[in-house]
Symmetry: none
DNA sequence: AATGAATGAGATTTCATTCAT
DNA sequence: GATGAATGAAATCTCATTCAT
């Protein structure tokens, strides 16, 4: 009862602070704002987080790091993806990835903004992606090759290049660059990859215009 | 003389503030720090920037926006690039682009961190890249196709995918993700693209490991 | 308890600020001085008056305007005054009025000094007096006429002229022009009016010198 | 030439500062504002007034004190006034006095606002008036009595009461309380005095209403 | 647990004045 | 005489944190 309420208050504090930090930055958010946003008396925050603002910040990031062991694509979906044709597979990966990012948008924005956040999320799965760690996409491509759906190639390099596209998507979401009206452009890009990867002769569409 | 000295003082203020804003963020940088960093009295900043911290911040971004009409790759280099073999061309583009980014790293970090900065740099060439604007790379590929160096494909889509890689590089530099020791991994990626684009049969290397 | 103490702190701030503003002017009073004068920490004023110096200034004037509906003579005294002989009546009015002014001296000084104060105290009873608003004195004179104590005259004009004398007293108190040693001069003035207003022949004293 | 220009600059500084001090108060006026108002470089004011803002303030008041030996009514007009009928005489005195006040309005406003000003203008002719110093009005009344135009009375007391009315006028002008539409009310007051002072029986108008 | 009054260090900004040119 | 860059003390205000109730 009392414990449950306390836990609830703690959670409300964390999630409200997370939203505020994400919107206005750590320094741009005042402790008073956090308190007001959950209708808490000024001193009480220090009951839940004795070290104050800094502790609430660290807690948000640490809990986030713990929870998001599978922040991004979990390998469980590999089986689903491998059975889709290339273009559909790419779009499915893209959509799932985008949704995962959107669910973690507050913490991602904090990570992009605050240097200290990046030192807390040490094993972060976000920024490291651009270095080419995420063997699952490589795995999918290899399976498709084994089924004879795509040609032989450097599957790891191909995985890295797709990761790059996905990482761009993270940045796009973090910085509110809408992908409205980008569906056709994206499809065209996916078809382009499908064509490059295809076994026979390329049947690329070339006259279309990529929409702005 | 005196005018020149005044202009120099103004420049020192601007560049010192730019560096501090980039390192510690707008809110994390105090006016006092800016003044100390140029060894000037507390009130002087208001002589050059009567609206204070805000004005010096806007000025940094506005002047940067004006100067960096060609912040990234200028089309003048197209002729150089088109005469290089694909892998070398990609590496040259990558290096030139990285250098351009490094030269503007302070402003870029500010733009990534501060929401207000993004509302000032409205026509920015940074974030917009991920939407696929930069026809110059497409142009290079078409020329190479006309020379018979690469196969036919959707050149615009190919351009967009390379832009994506370059944009990843921007983020990498902004967030201090070193590319030391990444040379081989990058080369492998470039060779992968070269292979996909090549006219004859692919001679891809597949057994190598991309280093972490 | 705690609420009462908070209210007391607020009151101490208000009355200390009122005194300081009255002595040294709005701009001549520092927030620090106000805080020191009530032995409180620098930030506390903003707890009670979030808009700071400005707000405490407005509050002083607004509360004063509300409380001083009967800033000056209240008509309840008319019955007392009408039963006194003319000279005694004038002296009684003068003394009561002077006391009322002295009780409000701080706010009056602020009103005389600060333009903004005059825009807050819009329905002020101070400056408007010189335009001849205060029907109560006219009423007293009429009653005395009805009792046969004074001659017929333009009672309203007579009221206005006495108001003028009282207003001079306001200015005298505001600007610390003591009326010590002015008792005889004042009496002479009152006797002069009594004589002018008297029914029979004037028995004016004429050889006396009004002291400087 | 050069001296003349210097004197002119000095005068411009003084009169501009006088206006600014009168409008915004001593503390509310910045040295920079004064300099800008006469298009002077920042440091140059200290050439003309080595002690800066304070010296310019003292100079304004000291020069004003010297020049306005006859700030108010000069006795030279007594001859004119004594030949007018009472009501016309009072109106003439009122108008001349009002004009004199208006000509000195800037300094008067400074004197009303700034305590220090009142310590500089020690022999001031303004505030002292309310203490009954201005024998000239007494003199006029005596002359009128000698001509048989008014009855015998305490002429000095009468002088003091008229001074009070005039002093109210000073305050009215200083505080921008217009006397538009007050002409009839004033005339009625003057007729009231004329009636009280008249030799025969009073023929007072009593039914009129004094306009608000 | 809860409240919000109180603290005080530190931030931004102002401004009279000085001084090198 | 003239300029305006430079100075630095002091003002207003913010805000994380503490603490008595």
């Amino acid at each position: 009862m009392r414990e449950a309420q306390a836990a609830e208050t703690r959670e409300k504090l964390l999630s409200s602070a997370r939203r505020l930090f994400s919107e206005k930055g750590y320094q741009g958010t005042t402790v008073r704002e956090i308190n007001r946003s959950v209708k808490l008396a000024d001193g009480l925050l220090y009951h839940y987080f004795p070290d104050g603002k800094r502790e609430i910040f660290r807690t948000i990031l640490e809990e986030s790091a713990r929870q998001s062991a599978d922040l991004f694509l979990n390998s469980g979906n590999i089986a689903v993806y491998e059975n889709l044709p290339v273009v559909e597979m790419l779009e499915a990966v893209y959509q799932d990835f985008s949704n995962n990012v959107r669910e973690n948008i507050d913490v991602l924005r904090i990570v992009f903004r605050e240097e200290e956040a990046r030192s807390i999320i040490t094993d972060d799965r976000v920024l490291c992606m651009i270095r080419g760690q995420a063997p699952w996409f490589t795995e999918i491509l290899k399976r498709k090759y084994n089924k004879g759906e795509i040609r032989e190639m450097d599957f790891e390099a191909a995985g890295v290049s797709i990761e790059g596209l996905l990482f761009n998507r993270v940045v796009g979401i973090v910085y509110d660059l809408s992908d409205e009206g980008q569906y056709e452009a994206r499809m065209r890009l996916f078809r382009h990859f499908a064509s490059l990867w295809s076994i026979g002769e390329a049947e690329e569409v070339q006259d279309e215009k990529v929409p702005a």
